[in-house]
Symmetry: C3
Subunit: 465 residues, 3 copies
């Protein structure tokens, strides 16, 4: 019966949520100056000055990270590829619309209307990123309905936290070490803690990769890695700021990659490399440079940050994750604590220290772009650094508190989440074909014949054809 409810819920929640979104957009959302035909043509500016040309290429790179990057990174599981890439698609498409409203409510409200353009699109994708990080923590153990409910609450809390940090505290966090990575990771970790499954070992055999699923995951890894410079620089100030941020991220990631390969071979059995490390830890350099990337960190500083992030991340996968699972009952499917949690905190600390060390000697006229409050003498660098540190604490508080509440909401037995014996399994949500349909070729169709053993765990018999 729970099954039946779930299967009736998903269509309803998708269609109803979308209709609500459409109505809210109709009431609240308007084109901004750069997207409105009338407003844009009122001024005398050249068409070439439209913000589209200075943000849209970065937006597209971020967009690829959200849909292909996160989506394929999570296809590493042997029998959860459809769900990884498919649910990623679903909750991202929902979150970016909901985030437009939530972020617009806090940041872009003009005369009762939310004004949108390419910058709000990037920010909506950023907020979506945080939701997808949390998705990584609960991957394989949650129904799509649960994920949509989680996304609804998380986007809201993300927007509040972002508002406190960027607007109230005046913190800087262009690449989201705090707002996106720390928030998304710890939110997700608390949710997965609340949803702890004591008998998850019954699905353990499916909680692993096969040869080709690891290659699919590398598609996700590489698109995240390559486009991370665009991610961190997407909403920084124009000119030297975007340029510098992209370059700092580029060197941080390169440095992190060598640290990851080194540490993976150092810690792994027989000195062999572990795909899990390469797929994940090599990205920690992008996370850890998220706050300080726009600052005058120098390539030298960026490489140190990336190096430390790679080391921390591999050690986390190797030693901390098993500990968290066995002692703290945190079942973190994708290891988001190692990729987003710890490197996010590292990034926040590096940002606070770099901000505190900022001087006019170093930044010159560029101070107003990076630290506007310091340039306007509303505060000094040291206070900026302190507020950056406070921002980290606020973020952790919001993530842990929010995750706790949302976790209990998600624990209600109404969403039809999979039982402990059928986690990490596509066939309960997706048509994966009957043996008849796929039988053309002996071996290729074999995987589908082996679906049958799973059916015995299900509340309903296999479909007759």
């Amino acid at each position: 019966i729970v099954f039946a409810i779930r299967h009736r819920w998903l269509p309803a929640i998708c269609l109803v949520l979308q209709i609500i979104l459409i109505i809210l957009f109709g009431v609240l959302v308007q084109y901004n100056h750069d997207t409105d035909a009338k407003l844009w043509h009122k001024g005398n500016q050249s068409d070439y000055e439209n913000d589209f040309y200075y943000r849209y290429p970065s937006f597209q790179d971020v967009h690829v990270m959200i849909f292909v990057g996160f989506g394929f990174l999570m296809t590493f599981l042997q029998r959860y590829g459809f769900s990884s890439v498919g649910f990623n698609f679903l909750i991202a498409a929902f979150s970016l619309q909901w985030a437009t409203l939530m972020q617009g409510f806090f940041h872009g409200f003009h005369g009762g209307k939310i004004h949108i353009g390419v910058e709000s699109m990037i920010n909506a994708d950023f907020c979506t990123g945080a939701v997808l990080i949390s998705f990584g923590a609960v991957l394989g153990k949650t129904s799509p309905v649960q994920l949509l409910v989680m996304a609804m609450f998380e986007v809201t809390l993300f927007s509040i936290n972002e508002y406190i940090l960027l607007s109230l505290l005046g913190a800087r966090d262009a690449g989201g070490s705090m707002t996106i990575h720390t928030f998304g990771a710890y939110f997700g970790l608390v949710v997965t803690r609340v949803l702890y499954r004591p008998n998850l070992d019954k699905s353990q055999k499916r909680n692993s990769s096969v040869y080709h699923s690891d290659l699919f995951a590398m598609i996700g890894t590489l698109f995240l890695w390559m486009f991370w410079p665009s991610f961190n620089s997407a909403v920084t100030a124009h000119g030297d700021d975007q340029h510098r941020t992209a370059m700092n991220t580029y060197y941080s990631l390169a440095s992190c990659t060598l640290a990851t390969f080194g540490m993976s071979a150092l810690t792994a059995h027989d000195g062999k490399l572990d795909m899990v490390h390469i797929q994940n830890a090599a990205l920690a350099g992008g996370v850890a440079i998220g706050t300080a990337g726009e600052m005058m960190l120098t390539p030298f500083g960026s490489m140190i940050v990336g190096f430390l992030a790679g080391i921390i991340s591999v050690l986390g996968f190797k030693y901390l994750s098993p500990f968290l699972e066995s002692k703290l009952k945190i079942q973190d499917t994708c290891g988001v604590h190692n990729l987003h949690g710890m490197p996010g905190i590292l990034g926040a600390i590096v940002g606070a220290v770099t901000a505190a060390a900022a001087t006019t000697e170093i930044y010159g006229g560029g101070m107003k772009d990076v630290f506007p409050d310091v340039a306007s003498q509303a505060r000094d660098s040291f206070k900026q650094g302190g507020l950056q540190a406070i921002s980290l604490v606020v973020t952790l508080g919001m993530a842990l508190g929010g995750g706790l509440i949302v976790g209990f909401i998600l624990k209600l037995p109404i969403y039809g989440s999979p039982s402990d014996t059928i986690c990490y399994e596509d066939s309960i949500y997706w048509e994966v074909g009957s043996p008849y349909q796929r039988d053309a070729d002996n071996v290729l169709s074999r995987p589908h014949q082996t679906i049958s053993p799973i059916h015995k765990y299900l509340a309903f018999p296999p479909r007759a054809k």
Copy 2:
């Protein structure tokens, strides 16, 4: 013997077509103002004003959609991945060259020469898109020679139709709901109708996906989905127009995705999701916003369009496609009627209505970019809307009539198309390896051992090694 002919035809047609293209380019094609060293340096414009910087990023996104998007979307078939991505590559590489000439003949002829630059490259890729849509309808049932012949005729008819719509009727269709999607879909559907195979059920077992082929197809889906905002905005006017078009498409697609997931779970057996819907219907929002995307449709309007497109498309896959196949004998392999046909018509209607509703109150000085004929008072909005509607009728006429003629040309028994028993099968066109070569590892090589049963359907014995 037919087999032998086909196998001699393919090299000949590739090489001869390319030599003809080279000669025609030599006679007819010149650099335009922005690509010619001498012409560009005659003026006093800044290098930064070269159109390259305002079109090329969009061009690259479109390029990815054509080669990776369409190519991988069609790899869903279990034994037709090489052909899907390979023939897509071949006919796209041919079509973009041929389209440069055909479109240049109709649109860019200056003193007997065709002038080319990044905008003509985008338009050539667009025309190629229409051919690839038709390819989707006949996928698995046609030889590469047949496909090249189809491309040759279709590019020509596409260019004539585009000329009638954009130049003679003054219609607006920046994202090609009519010129690309409606034309490509109905052209391909008539071709596949003429090429009807009554005994195709003998290949039915191969007309389906396997687990990993569905994941490969998702690569295509996501790159199409992510870059569709670039597609629709690639050739609109600079400034607010490109910006607005990209944003409208972004929200249309997001809305369409939730509608698709909702409808897929609603209509499918057991409430499970169907990969075919996710791979295809989630893209219908991009198709349906192709005409009106540049207009002041508002995000609200865009989301309604996307929502309807997703619903129509899933219902088409579920109920209409089986009907078309059984009653109208239209064997539409990829379901292009659901992804491109109906959503394309929807897009044309939305465009006509939105155009008819355009007022100076809304568009201000931007009217001249979106509706130049209305801005110049050559016609009023209502007439513009009417001409948009007429354009849809013209497009359908050209597609149906053209498809009929080309279908009969392709029916000639000279192209060596596969017999009904070996459709959807790579091994008749591609070296897929002998058992000996691939034997390193028992299971991985197994698929190749199972090729042998297919050989018995072939007119020639397996290769000796």
Copy 3:
């Protein structure tokens, strides 16, 4: 014991190299004018004039080619996907950092400091491309430590050669037909010759593809193909030059693709197409237009070059590679001689001829961008052409001589390269899972059960779990 050494070397070399790089960056590297907050804000220029906006989209495309393009192109081997994409990732991340220093030392040294920005990032990625080409020649037969040592030397020699060509001889080579492709290919070919393995046939069964590995490789092929116009135009002069280069490359590649399909079907058994040709030879058009792409070659000329490149490349795969292997003992895993070697030489020759034919009549005011030495009358076109030809000879000399020395360095028996019986095999470097872990699903886990036969060739027993 050698095994043990290798397995201790890899972590050490990764971590130590990265620490050395960090120190050198700390001592030598600074932000350039466009990335430094103070310097940039000293002038009065608009933020929109920052070079970021005119180079970064091209940089991102090049970046995708290096990591996804090269990485996935080499996943065609059935049991070497992890190593292909993983080692590609490792040596690219190292090489781009090392290249920043080496190229900076030769080209960007200002007052004892190397100044960096987006253009140096593109050049670093370019140099990395040469290393990855050489990697293709030795793929499957070298340990990661060996590859890092090779990269260290090759980057150095690349930078010297580039300095001789571009700075001393004043040659033009924007897309690197000589500096990247010819150098990388012949360097790698000599290295693989020195590392000749007489008993490599014992691993021959693994030196081939399987169905899905060929599809993964097509991801690499297509991203290389699509973004090659960005590669060749990434560092040319702004304005018409970048625009023209991208367009010439676009048409060269399209023409090359038809030539490749034609020649593949013409030369292959039964007229079937060979995936190896499609994956590789279709790219030769991008290589061969690397030098002349920025010149006024015309689309007509570009298509001829692409056509010839495709033909040469397929013939190379079909007839020359087996000859090189059997007679000259050059075991060229990826056939880099056919994709980069011969087309690179063709590109150099086309560049020399096109340069010699340059006149002010054709180039007008654009002469100063394409041939600054001719525009300043420091030399005439004919001499420019001659110096281009000399550059090819210098490049071949540097590649052959350098490859010889580095080959012998790599032959030292200290790097733990795999024995002849276990080449082209991931499981010696990567955790590919024990049968227990992957057993969830009968068939999908089967590949891992079949690892066992390989263990008998290894110097150590399989891990106990």
